[in-house]
């Protein structure tokens, strides 16, 4: 199977029914994508497929053939610096998914409201700290 990973051609072997999450972490050594629940509840394994945020634990790798996959390793966004400045991370497990989900929001909505941010991040659970600093960090990137 061939697909684009963070802008570069990528090729993997094995059954197309394997989880994209496992292929990213184990075959392609892109361990920035985290596994939390493995059931589509927590959003830790969020990646972008053709610009849309999805849980990579729910995607069969065969389904990304010919598509563009972006993981946290491929993200270049002011959001990352904002998360550092606002202290919007503790253990870091939710952070890659939070950043990717927030990135999609900012691509679509230049000036999101706090409610927009909460809705866009509703599929990403943080169990450390609460969401206030994360939301403040995202809002600080609104242009």
């Amino acid at each position: 199977m061939r697909f684009t990973l963070n802008g570069r051609d990528s090729s993997v072997e094995g059954s197309g029914s394997r989880r994209l999450l496992d292929v990213l972490r184990e075959d392609l050594r892109h361990t920035g994508t985290k596994e939390g629940c493995g059931e589509g509840e927590c959003g830790a394994c969020s990646v972008l497929i053709d610009g849309e945020v999805v849980n990579s634990c729910l995607v069969a790798v065969g389904q990304v053939e010919g598509r563009h996959v972006v993981t946290i390793e491929g993200l270049q966004s002011p959001l990352q610096q904002a998360f550092i400045e606002y202290g919007a991370a503790q253990c870091g497990i939710c952070t890659p998914g939070m950043l990717l989900a927030a990135h999609v929001l900012l691509q679509r909505t230049r000036r999101p409201s706090e409610d927009d941010v909460r809705e866009a991040l509703a599929g990403n659970l943080c169990r450390c700290t609460g969401y206030t600093k994360i939301i403040e960090a995202v809002l600080s990137c609104a242009t």
Partner: protein, 266 residues
């Protein structure tokens, strides 16, 4: 899971053929249910192959067909939410889609998957019942109130696949979901109500998403209070990890009263 063969048919005709001739296979669309069960190895019998329908253009899209709105079985909830046609003609379905999971799930979940999985808590299923939707398969059209035959059981034959869902235009349907939180919650009670014709459809209160026929009869006679009283006898809630039967019965009556009140206020 590594041994599960992945099959991607070229088109719908190919998919129908492959599904008929591949023993022990399961259909895959957005994967929000199936991928969890595949990975946890909870499917019995364990499938030997999956047939990926996600990218088939015949199963995508939202269009007018005569006096119905037709939604492709593999169209995502995001596609439904963003569709001007869906917003105009089936706003209660759009409202339900917006309550499912969050962006990640809405980008992958589908009506065909919600129907085929047949969870009693499937959020779109009461809405489809309230609209008298029709489930279109590769061989026939099944009225949705005859689709759910038992706990996670459907009227689909072993080799039959859902291609689309059709909903009539011009119905006033309202929707309400009760869960633990706004996003990522599996429903404790989920309800859709149509005033004319009288339809009261409820999820998470029985082994299947059901039509509350006694409540509907009262509502058809213009008796809103009678409908609220009767609905308690229509449902068969249980205690489970999400809620209790007592809570579900009380909340079902409260939600119905609220939705009927909303109709009365216009």
């Amino acid at each position: 899971m590594r041994d599960v063969t992945y099959l991607r048919p070229r088109d719908l005709k190919d998919a129908v053929q492959v599904y008929r001739t591949t023993p022990g296979c399961r259909l895959l669309a957005g994967g929000t249910d199936l991928m969890v069960m595949l990975h946890a190895r909870t499917l019995r019998p364990e499938p030997r192959a999956v047939i990926d329908l996600w990218s088939l253009p015949e199963l995508k899209g939202i269009r007018r067909v005569d006096d119905m709105l037709e939604i492709g079985a593999a169209e995502s909830y995001t596609g439904i939410i963003r569709s001007a046609l869906a917003q105009q003609h089936v706003p209660a379905l759009v409202a339900a889609a917006r309550t499912i999971g969050a962006a990640q799930i809405q980008n992958r979940g589908t009506l065909g998957g919600n129907l085929a999985n047949a969870s009693p808590a499937g959020d779109t299923l009461p809405v489809l019942l309230a609209y008298d939707a029709v489930v279109v398969t590769d061989r026939r059209a099944i009225p949705v109130d005859r689709f759910f035959t038992g706990y996670r059981k459907t009227a689909l034959q072993a080799d039959e696949l859902i291609t689309a869902v059709r909903l009539p235009l011009g119905r006033q349907v309202v929707f309400h979901k009760v869960g633990t939180r706004a996003a990522q919650a599996i429903s404790k009670v989920v309800m859709a109500v149509c005033r004319e014709p009288a339809r009261v459809a409820i999820g998470s209160v029985a082994e299947i998403p059901l039509r509350a026929t006694r409540a509907e009869a009262a509502l058809a006679n213009g008796d809103a209070a009678g409908a609220v009283a009767a609905v308690a006898g229509d449902i068969r809630p249980i205690d489970d990890v999400r809620s209790t039967a007592v809570y579900r019965r009380a909340v079902t009556q409260n939600v119905l009263a609220e939705l009927l009140d909303a109709f009365a206020r216009g």
